[in-house]
């Protein structure tokens, strides 16, 4: 379980452009389920997602991962925890241009010091799971939007994380590709992964695989609905 207690995130604190992105949020995210942070643009869902995933530290409040507080971990340990526990899928996919799809998939595994053969085999298997084995050696910039996103999903899974975090994953996809994405998430859920997504797309938050929707507005949680 990931638990947030009275979490606040303030940007540019003390300056004229001070901005509170997340205010006094307390939520619990259960493992083995799909949780969606829902809300309009600027509601604070991406910032909250970053806090859940240990990408940023809250200005105040505490975050627990399986009962262990991660808020005050030194950067090295926080990064190691993040690398082992979370896989990230970004809104703009954020693939590194100029290198191949396979290299992009392998990137998060480089600092682990795992033997190359092992991570390469895993990367190829992931690409093949997403029907991309033929694109393994294509440069990132040659991929279509759908392909780029599947490469991004494969990259998120290379270190076999327990939790997959996706920020507005369908924002740049048409309906068919959005449905395909949700199917992929369904397969990950079936494989035992926990999925946390930020989205204001009904294809995402109305999907049958979603078991919890946290609705946000102006940085605060306004509703938390659990589905059976």
């Amino acid at each position: 379980m990931i638990e947030l207690r009275n979490v606040n995130k303030v940007f540019n604190a003390g300056r004229p452009n001070e901005f509170t992105a997340v205010r006094d949020v307390s939520v619990s995210i259960a493992f083995g389920r799909v949780t969606v942070l829902k809300g309009p643009s600027g509601s604070g869902k991406t910032t909250l997602l970053g806090l859940v995933g240990g990408m940023a530290r809250p200005t105040s409040g505490r975050i627990f991962l399986e009962g262990r507080e991660i808020t005050s971990l030194p950067e090295r340990f926080l990064t190691a925890t993040r690398r082992k526990t979370y896989g990230f899928i970004f809104q703009h996919f954020n693939l590194v241009q100029g290198i191949t799809a396979l290299e992009n998939v392998l990137l998060p595994a480089y600092p682990t010091g795992e033997p190359h053969r092992g991570i390469r085999e895993r990367g190829m298997r992931l690409l093949s799971d997403f029907n991309l084995e033929g694109k393994a050696l294509s440069k990132a910039e040659w991929l279509s939007g759908g392909e780029a996103q599947r490469v991004a999903i494969a990259r998120a899974l290379i270190n076999d994380p327990a939790v997959v975090i996706a920020d507005e994953p369908t924002a740049h996809l048409d309906l068919r590709l959005s449905m395909e994405f949700m199917d992929a998430m369904g397969r990950l859920l079936a494989g035992g992964k926990t999925i946390v997504m930020a989205s204001h797309d009904p294809v995402v938050y109305e999907s049958r695989i979603v078991s919890e929707v946290v609705e946000m507005r102006d940085g605060a949680v306004v509703d938390q609905a659990r589905r059976p």
């Binding site: 970053g50 970004f90 682990t112």
Partner: protein, 377 residues
């Protein structure tokens, strides 16, 4: 292979592929960088080789050379000075030397003419340096014409071509007999160019030199160490002139290198953000940037030094021969003996590799310490 080594390998691989991705920009930088290292190390290698040559010339020479001066100018010294100097305690030997310069207007070259004190030569013969042999096309058995101080012709038969450990010394050398020397230059019997004094104990050098100057106030004893220091100063001064000429190029490179290394493009910044976001630590990013700086500067260093080595020792230092050598003679086909000093290479290494690598890491450190969620915003 351990995880530590694997991590280094993977990150180095990614660094090299990153450099290759921006090959236009990095290639241009590498080219300029290599050029600068090439120029700097050419000057260093050339100066060092010249100093070494000069040292080799002097190492077998006498510890003290006694010159006579008249009105502050070098003048011929009477052989009779040798006896009293030899009697000074600590002096091993005193040898009057005959040497001078002969201007060959046919070749527009100055030769050094010497009477070898330890190997008396037969009258009418000459041993010549290999540069003269080449330029005059003279070989043993040929006769070379000279003109005496009175304008009369003097024909000397070549019996040997001199080769020496130091070609700088032997290239323009003529060995003649004492009689031919006196005929050629009109040096009267009983007078020598200078006196070569050998000393038993090197620690007594300055005392003996002082005693010589006291016994013969019209002489000037010159210590070998002083000559070495003068050579050193002259070559260092010449190297300094060349370096100051290169200063503008150096400065512009430093600005370019600093700008390239210290400024991160928006693309690089974004990439660092992505790497951080997908689980790279700050130290991983810094390791990558370290390898990037090290790869560029090490390649430039090795390439530049190798090119300079070829330029100085194989190509005859064609680029700055006139400035650095500045001898009275331009030697035809003159080549320096290769010699590379570890300390100078180390200095160059630290000047070329370390600042660039540091300049690459510092700005990345700033970029790499931002929260990884910056890439999501």
């Amino acid at each position: 292979m351990g995880p530590w080594l694997e991590r280094q390998r993977r990150i180095l691989e990614f660094t090299l592929s990153s450099l290759w991705r921006r090959r236009g920009k990095n290639g241009a930088l590498l080219l300029v960088y290599t050029g600068i290292v090439f120029l700097l190390s050419s000057v260093m290698l050339f100066t060092q080789a010249l100093k070494r040559e000069a040292g080799a010339v002097l190492i077998g020479g006498p510890e003290i050379v006694v010159q006579r001066t008249v009105a502050g100018r070098h003048d011929l010294v009477p052989d009779g000075y040798a006896g009293p100097i030899r009697r000074i305690r600590g002096v091993q030997s005193v040898v009057p030397r005959l040497w001078g310069y002969y201007y060959d207007d046919g070749e527009n070259a100055n030769y050094t003419v010497l009477v070898p004190p330890d190997q008396p030569r037969p009258e009418g013969s000459v041993a010549i340096g290999d540069a003269i042999s080449r330029s005059r096309g003279a070989n043993p058995g040929d006769t070379l014409p000279f003109r005496t101080h009175k304008g009369e012709p003097l024909a000397l038969k070549v019996d040997r071509v001199l080769t020496d450990e130091s070609r700088l010394a032997s290239a323009d050398l003529l060995h003649v007999s004492e009689a031919d020397f006196r005929t050629l230059f009109g040096v009267p019997p009983g007078l020598a160019t200078d006196l070569a004094v050998s000393v038993r104990n090197p620690r007594e050098l300055t005392t003996i030199a002082r005693k010589i100057a006291e016994a013969f106030p019209d002489t000037r004893p010159i210590l070998r160490d002083e000559v070495l220091r003068t050579y050193d100063a002259v070559f260092s001064w010449r190297a300094g002139i060349l370096l100051s000429l290169l200063a503008a190029a150096l400065m512009s490179f430093i600005i370019l290198g600093w700008d390239k290394a210290s400024g991160l493009s928006a693309e690089e910044r974004r990439e660092i953000g992505i790497l951080k976001a997908i689980g790279w630590e700050t130290s991983d990013v810094l390791l990558m940037k370290f390898w990037e700086g090290a790869a560029v500067s090490l390649t430039a260093f090795l390439g530049g030094v190798l090119l300079a080595w070829g330029h100085v020792f194989l190509g005859g230092s064609a680029l700055f021969l006139p400035v650095l050598k500045g001898w009275s003679v331009l030697y035809p086909g003159f080549h320096l003996a290769p010699s590379v000093g570890a300390s100078q290479l180390t200095t160059l290494f630290f000047l070329a590799v370390v600042p660039y690598t540091v300049a690459t890491i510092v700005p990345s450190w700033r970029a790499a310490t931002v929260d990884p969620d910056a890439v999501m915003r």
